[in-house]
Amino acid sequence: MTRDGGKVESDPTFPRRKAYVRPLDFKGGRVDMTHGSGGRAMAQLIDDLFAAAFDNEWLRQGNDGARVPAPSGRLVVATDSHVITPLFFPGGDIGALSVHGTINDVAVMGATPLWLAAGFVLEEGFPLADLRRIVESMAAASREAGVPVITGDTKVVEKGKGDGVFITTTGVGVVADGVELGGDRARPGDRVLVSGTMGDHGVAIMSLRENLTFETTIASDTAALNGLAAAMLAAAPGLRVMRDPTRGGLATTLNEIARQSRVGFVLDEAAIPVKPEVEAACEFLGLDPLYVANEGKVVAVCAAEDAGRLLAAMRVHPLGGDAAIVGSAIDDPHHFVQMDTRFGGRRIVDWLAGEQLPRIC
């Protein structure tokens, strides 16, 4: 309809011409300020890239938010911002990571992740090819995990005010009645389990950092843990704690749990799975694999009598093949995490002070 009510289609003086819209240049194009301005360029980016990749019934409605039926029971909500450098790394990229990270935060609460929301902060000048690669990787990760991205947002900041792309994802999940996981539930005598080798993600990232390139076959372990977490809960419904040991690694995660549960932990160094390549990289960088980040591993605390069953369930899952019982909770008024070393001594595995920095000599 035209403004005066006449029908364009029926007017022979205005033959209908198909409007030509220049497609997004995914080869050489770059994000510019118009992609965040609210105009046609932004609409095109959303339709042709984000909506197309994440395609689902909620996005297709094109509303400001997604309307979903309220599940019965308790909800878990978790959010995570991703600012990783480099954006692409062996084993994954910021896109897959942003999906996995939030799914994992929801899953280790004992919940079934249902939906994700994603916010993008793009830096002016960021190559559209890279953006497409990231978004498609996100979409693949979300499909594989069975958790759709149902709403999102994009903003563009001027060049120099961002680092390519930042992605924040928020996840919603539902937790079944009777599942009571929490960092405050570890008790003396409980066992500590990890689902696999420690430090893979951090070392894969570090091997690519500026100034530090070294050749390694280590790939990031980034993975969605909702399947593994569900299998663990099914095997040991009385599970006390699950956590994904991301930043700060196993050491930090256990210190957090020790503090929340007011217990101590004693680890057995020989039982903690670490890939030889990761150990070697940490050795020459002066780092400790216990403090290096993981993105596809879970730390669990369970009652001693559940440990065997839980371990067996983890080991049959594709993401838990290297699972191991690595220590126990003890009564300790100081809530220390200690470790019996392979060397035969016992030492504190303390909170990290500042950033873990390589030593010089």
């Binding site: 100081h334 035969g344 001594g345 016992r346 002070a353 500042g354 920095l357």
Partner: protein, 420 residues
């Protein structure tokens, strides 16, 4: 891990410990100084103290490059970055060392100074090459281990005719520091610090060789055993020192034969000799002015020397009054003797340099050994505060009230010159 696990074998360690216990003469004490921070770190991390008999005592030495860097030199580095607008490239360890006015390189960076962490001075060279419009200064610190790479960077800068690169040289020398300790009144005259022998540096000795230590053995009659940084290396060196002391020998022995030769690395030494010359004197944190203990860049390379280039004026800054880093670096005190240790001085908020680097005596002791401290220190809640939830302190039945020992309150920090 191959070639590493062999040197961390617990069964071998226990058998070595048994031998040390059998051979150590129960009627005497053995005071052995490990000069290097690398050894301090290994001793704490692997709990070697637990394996030693009570009469074999390890004394931490000043061999932590970050710990001996005086505050004034860090102030100068910060000044270069903030006021002269240079890109300051530095090793990671120095980033958190407290400087004057509550600053550190890390804080100066957060406030806008262009300070970049590098893993090698070759990276600093590359940054200079890639940013021809910026002046780039490499903040060079360390003992003989890190000196040859700095020399190489200067020669490389000359070869490439890099006009925007210079080095702020703070390289120090191990033998002069050992001499200084042996000459100190606490060791020589007062006998406050009994020192019977030295575990000699590992990586430093790969460069300078074992020959420079002959002087200590001959002149001061102190045995030296050069040892690697793995825990079994340290245990073996302790056994060798105990044997020398039992026999009344004072020799230089080399446990680290897999890497150290008598003459060291001739190529590296030649590079250092080409680029550097001895400073008449240099201030060390904890040791004060030590004659002929540091290197400066030779006149010939002065355009690559940040000191003349930017007119760096050195202003010495005294340590915080309550900080015992100086006494700890000289072996006069132990970390737990310091009244601020673990209370206001923690790895998160270091007051002194020994708490900054993981090789520092205080940081190593705090990180790996503080749970073994006696009841007095255990009474100070802050030692464990990181592991407590807010408000938990009062309700915890096992923690002694902080007030029970007036020496351990925060007001200690405000005391004038406590304990000296």
């Amino acid at each position: 891990m191959k070639y590493v696990d062999e040197f961390r074998d617990g069964a071998l360690a226990r058998s070595l410990a048994g031998r040390i216990a059998r051979e150590a003469d129960p009627s005497r004490r053995y005071h052995l100084m490990e000069f290097c921070g690398g050894h301090t770190h290994a001793i704490s991390r692997y709990g070697l103290k637990d394996l030693l008999p009570a009469n074999v005592e390890m004394v931490h030495g000043p061999g932590c490059p970050v710990c001996v860097l005086p505050i004034g030199r860090i102030d100068s580095a910060i000044e270069l970055a903030r006021e002269r607008g240079v890109v300051l490239c530095t090793y990671a360890d120095t980033m958190r060392v407290p400087a004057s006015k509550g600053l550190s390189l890390m804080k100066a960076k957060a406030a806008g100074a262009d300070i970049r962490m590098v893993y090698s001075c070759a990276d600093a060279l590359r940054i200079a090459r890639d940013n021809p419009s910026r002046e780039v200064v490499f903040f060079a610190i360390g003992f003989e281990t890190t000196t040859p790479p700095t020399a190489l960077a200067v020669l490389e800068a000359e070869r490439q005719a890099l006009g925007n690169f210079s080095v702020f040289c703070n390289h120090v020398l191990t033998p002069s520091a050992i001499t200084h300790i042996l000459e100190s009144p606490e060791v020589r005259d007062l006998g406050i610090v009994p020192l019977d022998g030295f575990i000699g540096p590992a990586h430093v000795s790969t460069v300078i060789g074992s020959a420079p230590y002959d002087y200590f053995a001959e002149e001061y009659r102190k045995p030296v055993v050069i040892a690697g940084f793995e825990p079994l290396d340290v245990m073996q060196a302790i056994l060798m020192l105990v044997r020398q002391l039992n026999d009344g020998r004072a020799e230089v022995e080399n446990e680290f034969t897999r890497a150290v030769t008598p003459q060291g690395n001739e190529k590296a030494k030649a590079l250092v000799a080409e680029v550097f010359e001895l400073r008449r004197s240099f201030e060390w944190r904890g040791l004060g002015e030590v004659p002929y203990s540091a290197l400066a860049i030779k006149e010939r390379f002065s355009r690559f020397d940040a000191e003349p280039r930017y007119g760096v004026v050195y202003r010495p800054v005294p340590d915080h009054k309550a900080c015992e880093c100086g006494a700890i670096l000289r072996g006069v005190k132990k970390p737990e003797d310091c009244k601020v240790f673990g209370i206001v001085c923690t790895p998160e908020n270091p007051i002194g340099s020994c708490m900054v680097s993981s090789e520092g005596a205080c940081a190593a002791h705090y990180t790996y050994g503080r749970y073994k401290l006696g009841p007095a220190k255990l009474g100070s809640d802050s030692l464990f505060a990181a592991n407590r939830l807010p408000g938990e302190r009062e309700s915890d039945p096992d923690s002694t009230k902080r007030e029970s020992d007036p020496n351990l309150t925060d007001s200690t920090f405000r005391d004038r010159n406590p304990g000296r």
